[in-house]
């Protein structure tokens, strides 16, 4: 069977003057449709770099990345933009809604860039808002909503284009723990309904909500397996963090 995401020997190397930084140091990873994967690791371990490459916002220094069978690792900016538009839905830590646009217009954006007609755009955006339970807020500006509501709008925006993969980068980072849990529960619900979710977090207690955990350290995968496996939450060389981050 063809994998949805297939990373093979991915390197991302930054040249900082004399120094070279291996942000990703030979990563191979596959994700199949319907999975819920958390990519977890300490700050500086390479999570954001991995997320940028999976999200087609960046290209690897070497290695190949196939998304739904298509090699996207050597695409130019406009081709990548098209892949992001059709295949990927982003959820960011800072919600990243456009403040001057209404909730509905924000949700319509991916459809706007896909060239969907105004009527269908509205219909599909309203359906996405309904999925997150915010259709009555469609005329509001983002600033008139609470943090949790704004994050749900950004989830609706990610869903609006019916992407193959939902990429969530620290989606609970800016929320209090209760709304954070609600958002996580929502991602679980989406996954239960068949969406593929890739969650990026530094927080073990959040990572364990996924079905599968991929742990990064210094640009390498040091664990890839079931989230319920106790090994999944072990931070090998950062003893002082073990107590607070490991949530059994």
């Amino acid at each position: 069977m063809e994998h949805l995401i297939e990373l093979k020997d991915i390197y991302k190397i930054y040249q900082m003057g004399e120094e070279t930084v291996h942000a990703l140091d030979g990563i191979s990873l596959t994700v199949d449709p319907g999975e819920f994967v958390a990519i977890v690791g300490q700050s500086g371990s390479g999570k954001s770099t991995a997320m940028n490459i999976i999200g087609c916002l960046d290209v690897p220094t070497s290695g190949t990345y196939r998304l739904a069978g298509v090699d996207v690792s050597t695409m130019d900016d406009d081709q990548q933009a098209e892949i992001r538009n059709k295949m990927l839905g982003f959820i960011f830590q800072q919600y990243n809604l456009i403040p001057k646009l209404s909730v509905l217009e924000n949700v319509e954006l991916p459809l706007l860039y896909a060239g969907v007609s105004a009527g269908e755009r509205r219909e599909r955006a309203l359906a996405a808002l309904e999925r997150v339970g915010l259709q009555d807020k469609r005329k509001n500006l983002p600033s008139q909503l609470s943090g949790g509501q704004q994050q749900r709008v950004s989830i609706a925006r990610a869903l609006a284009g019916s992407p193959s993969v939902i990429l969530a980068d620290e989606p609970t980072g800016a929320l209090d723990s209760r709304t954070g849990r609600e958002v996580l529960a929502f991602l679980q619900k989406l996954n239960a309904e068949g969406d593929t979710v890739v969650l990026i977090t530094h927080d073990n207690s959040i990572a364990v909500k996924a079905k599968r955990i991929v742990r990064l350290q210094d640009g390498k995968i040091i664990y890839d397996g079931d989230a319920k496996d106790p090994q999944a939450v072990v931070q090998p060389d950062l003893e002082e963090h073990r107590g607070e981050e490991a949530v059994p």
Partner: protein, 418 residues
């Protein structure tokens, strides 16, 4: 695709920060208003002057004789009459046109801004009931052949003198011109605004009398000399506007044969004068409009400046849009539309301001020239459309650089920006 949204967002951001929007658009507003007002004033002036010309008669050919040339002969009044008789197909008449500098007095009051001309009876066309310069009679009659032949001390006065000197009962009254009493035999209809020094403050008398007055004045008072210098200005009337250049041709031939030097005379038709005036006005207007257009350019630079700031401020928005699938060209067109909208709004404000100022100018010029004198600053539709088009063009042109900068932003950096 996202044109309406870009357009609406641009209008929104103009409305939410009005002060900044005003400063951004100021150059465009001033430039467009200046262009409109210059075009309006130019059109108004042109219409006004053309109307004046029409009133004075478009069939007139003015002949000025400056010297004797090398021919050692002169063209006399009689030669001019013969010429007009010889070419009736081109010339419908000729009259000397002697300007007189003399004091006009009546009952102890002196009128020193009055224009006095010596003409012949031909100056008045009996069939069309108007003079060569378009004046019509309201009372009495014009100078007759006998009046001119016999140097009769009679005159025709303009409506201003009739009102100011004789309270509207000037017919058969007397006024003195250069100390000599003249009887009023006719009053002209009002053609200007009936004020002192205007086209209504005028006297026509037989050209022989006019020359005598001029000689008397140049010889010193008392000595009356009939032996005068030749008449130097004649007015011909061509049979129509289309025959005026042929008429000019036959006049020039006569003058050239006599004086054998084109430096000794000057013949100009009203149509030529009108053309010359119009083309001079057009050159002047073009220069002024180009100068005003420079401020449009400055306005464009203002827009570019603010757009560059706006791109920096909205780096994160650009990153978000790109992450959602916006291509470089989508971002570029968004910012270009925004720049175009900003300058278009500035252009519309400039047009409104310009038209308002043009209307104000009509009132002010009217007041300065004393009463409504037919001057109307007229904004032309073409001028409005062109200046609107140019202002949008300037916005798009100067919006391109910032828009391109936005389009080239790296989405990762842009998303991280705050």
């Amino acid at each position: 695709m996202n044109v309406t949204q870009s357009f609406r967002m641009a209008l929104n951001s103009l409305l939410t920060s009005k002060m900044r929007a005003l400063l951004t658009m100021l150059g465009i507003i001033i430039g467009v208003a200046a262009v409109i007002i210059i075009i309006s004033l130019g059109n108004g002036l042109q219409n006004y002057l053309n109307a004046q010309f029409e009133q004075m008669g478009v069939n007139i050919i003015q002949v000025q004789i400056m010297g004797r040339g090398t021919g050692n002969r002169t063209v006399e009044t009689e030669d001019m009459y013969q010429l007009a008789e010889k070419y009736p197909q081109y010339l419908s008449g000729v009259s000397p046109y002697v300007s007189v500098q003399a004091e006009v007095r009546s009952g102890g009051t002196s009128y020193d801004r009055t224009s006095i001309y010596g003409v012949s009876d031909i100056y008045y066309n009996r069939e069309r009931n108007q003079t060569m310069r378009g004046e019509a009679l309201s009372k009495g009659r014009f100078l007759s052949y006998i009046d001119v032949e016999r140097y009769q001390n009679v005159c025709v006065i303009g409506s201003y003198l009739d009102q100011a000197v004789f309270q509207g009962k000037g017919l058969d009254q007397t006024l003195t011109i250069g100390g000599i009493p003249y009887t009023v035999i006719g009053v002209l209809e009002q053609k200007a605004d009936c004020t002192e020094g205007s086209g209504d403050d005028v006297i026509f008398l037989p050209h022989g009398c006019a020359q005598r007055l001029n000689n008397r004045i140049s010889n010193g008072s008392g000595a009356i000399s009939i032996m005068g210098t030749s008449i130097t200005v004649y007015l011909f009337a061509s049979t129509g506007q289309d025959t005026s250049s042929a008429a000019k041709g036959v006049i020039e031939r006569l003058l050239d044969q006599t004086y054998q030097s084109s430096d000794s005379y000057f013949v100009v038709t009203a149509a030529e004068m009108m053309d010359t005036m119009n083309s001079m006005l057009e050159v002047l207007m073009t220069i002024l409009v180009v100068i005003a257009a420079i401020s449009l350019l400055v306005g464009g630079i203002g827009i570019m400046n603010i757009m560059l700031v706006s791109v920096t401020e909205r780096t994160r928005e650009i990153g978000i849009r790109k992450s959602l699938g916006a291509k470089g060209r989508d971002i570029r067109s968004q910012f270009i539309i925004e720049a175009g909208t900003t300058s278009a709004v500035g252009g519309v404000i400039g047009i409104v301001l310009g038209v308002m100022l043009a209307n104000a100018a009509t009132v002010i010029v009217g007041a300065v020239m004393g009463g409504s004198d037919g001057f109307t600053a007229t904004p032309s539709l073409g001028g409005i459309l062109v200046s609107f088009g140019v202002s949008v063009g300037v916005g798009v042109l100067f919006g391109y650089l910032p828009a391109n900068k936005a389009a080239k932003l790296n989405p990762i950096d842009a998303l991280r920006y705050d």
